[in-house]
Amino acid sequence: MKRTAAHSDARDGVACGLLWISPWLVGFAVFVAVPIVLSGALSFCEFDGIRRPVFIGLEHWRGLFADPLVWKVLRNTAVYAALALPVGTVLGVAMALLLNQPIPGQTLWRSVVFAPSLLPLVAVGIIWTWMFNARFGLINSALALVGISGPTWLNDASWAMPSVVILGLWSIGHTVVVYLAGLQDVPRELYEASHLDGAGPWSRLWHVTLPMISPAMFFNIVVGLIFVWQIFAAPYVMFPGGGPQRNAYFYTMYVYDQAFAYRRFGYACALSWVQLLIILALTAVAFRSSRHWVHYRGA
């Protein structure tokens, strides 16, 4: 990073550099910058997609705070994030530690854990709708074998959210791969040294392994924070209408419905701006906090 920022070794002209990155520059301007600005402008307008947008000032922004559904989807999304991220991190690290052991068939087990995270979320949503089927699904059938009568899952207001979390945990394979890569980088000497110091397995996990993979944890948590706020496809196919008592109605589903079902495009733009601000704020907080718990080697 240092070298990139240094100006002293600039050898080529700025025009040459800009020319090389021009595909991204043009794409960024047309497909990202213009839409973001447009979205900001539309958030101050009433716009149904047919008639010309009418400026209405802060009405949408004020209306947003008074809209009970906004609070509902914000709460649902925050609850999902608060459940899925910590549980996913613990499970992901645990799976990586296990898959890092020298055991027969290592590549096969790693593939099995990783594969689900590759699948289209629509497919994941459909597969789990069938898994959670109250009468014939695999989960309740398995529970019945041990004498437990399972809940109706997707139709049960208190189990709708846990169902989405369980489905999310199924797709943590890509985080496991990042942890595994981090684990491979832990220098052997550190373990040998801690062994000589008489550290037990727990102490080694806490004082050597976890600090050494903290950059990987940070990477996964930041990516996770950005993505949980965009959760859409799986709940959209599992819970048309948001599920019982709208307990599985997430933020992006609400933005989509406001825009493309009710054609309230101006309001949807205000909502999506709020989403962008939340993501930026959370990412900033994550970077702030990282100073206290992320250990970069050599730092």
Binding site: C16, G17, F28, M95, W130, S141, A233, T252, I279
Partner: protein, 302 residues
């Protein structure tokens, strides 16, 4: 038994149990897709088919040909159904074709444009490079939902709504994540190679085309495979930009199929789902080394 061996066996047991948990939904999907409708609605756990000897016949019926109305052993008339591939109202061969068109156009554009932009960030030395690179990385944080409404109207203005263009044209303008991945890879290529080529009179374009690109082939393959899975899985994009069944992609088509059937014939829904995910799983089996630790993530460190 040595204590170490016992620990090993304990770990192996845990890994096998966890892997079974991860594999169960997929096994359940495949096993359901190979059942006739009358066996799906039985309340026993049947990961194993009821009539294993007829699996081939059920596979053919569910995935391809469908089944005519018939009278079962109890003399009850059973209603027939259409196979997924030959279904009249949901055209999976067409969805597959659309997905492949988007995949080819999108992946080739993404690989080429990201390779060029990454060269500008790694091998061209210019004032302001750091600032632009930081901005480029920051754009990774912009979620698609935040720009989907204005993008819709922008593409409408371009005349792209109702065509596949919104799904592949933007891919020709690189993407921050792939640029980052390739830049990290380029930085590992010794500068001496470029210097030597420059002395031989090669321009930046010559160095890029003849030296960097051939060396970066493994990293380009990673970008291609990553982007292919992205294209295959994208749902919100097609949902917003495609309005006619004739240009639906597989992900959108699958959801449409579920809607059409009201979510009841689970053997057919699982056959359709298997059809959608199978190419990805095959691709993964062939390109595993790009995904599992090693090359793909080596660029992500510090």
């Amino acid at each position: 038994m040595k204590p170490q061996t016992a620990v090993r066996i304990f770990y192996l047991g845990l890994v096998v149990a966890a892997s079974l948990g991860f594999a169960a939904p997929l096994l359940w999907m495949v096993s359901t897709s190979l059942k006739p409708l009358e066996d799906v609605g039985t309340s026993r756990v049947a990961l194993v088919p009821v009539h294993p000897e007829r699996t081939g016949q059920y596979l053919w019926e569910n995935f391809y040909e469908g089944r005519p109305t018939f009278v079962d052993e109890q003399g009850v008339e059973r209603v027939g159904y259409e196979g997924v591939w030959t279904s009249d109202n949901v055209n999976f061969p067409l969805f597959l074709r659309n997905t492949l068109i988007v995949a080819v156009l999108s992946v080739s554009g993404m690989v080429l444009s990201s390779a060029i932009v990454a060269y500008g960030f790694a091998k061209v030395r210019w004032r302001g490079r750091g600032v632009f690179f930081a901005i480029c990385l920051a754009t990774m944080m912009v979620p698609f939902p935040a720009i989907m409404v204005p993008s819709y109207f922008l593409f409408k203005w371009f005349g792209w709504i109702g065509t596949l263009q919104p799904l592949w044209v933007p891919a020709w303008f690189a993407n921050a994540f792939n640029v980052f991945l390739l830049r990290q890879f380029y930085l590992q290529i010794p500068e001496e190679l470029s210097d030597a080529a420059r002395i031989d009179g090669l321009s930046h374009w010559g160095i890029f085309w003849r030296i960097i690109l051939p060396l970066a082939r493994p990293a380009l393959a990673v970008v291609a495979v990553f982007h292919l899975t992205y294209v295959w899985n994208d749902f919100l994009g097609p949902l917003v930009f495609l309005h006619h069944q004739h240009n639906f992609t597989l992900a959108l088509g699958l959801q449409f199929y579920m809607q059409q059937h009201g979510g009841t014939p689970w053997n057919l829904l699982m056959a359709a789902t298997t059809l959608t995910v199978a190419p990805l799983l095959i691709l993964f089996a062939l390109t595993q080394r790009f995904f599992l630790p090693g090359l793909a993530t080596s660029g992500l460190k510090g």
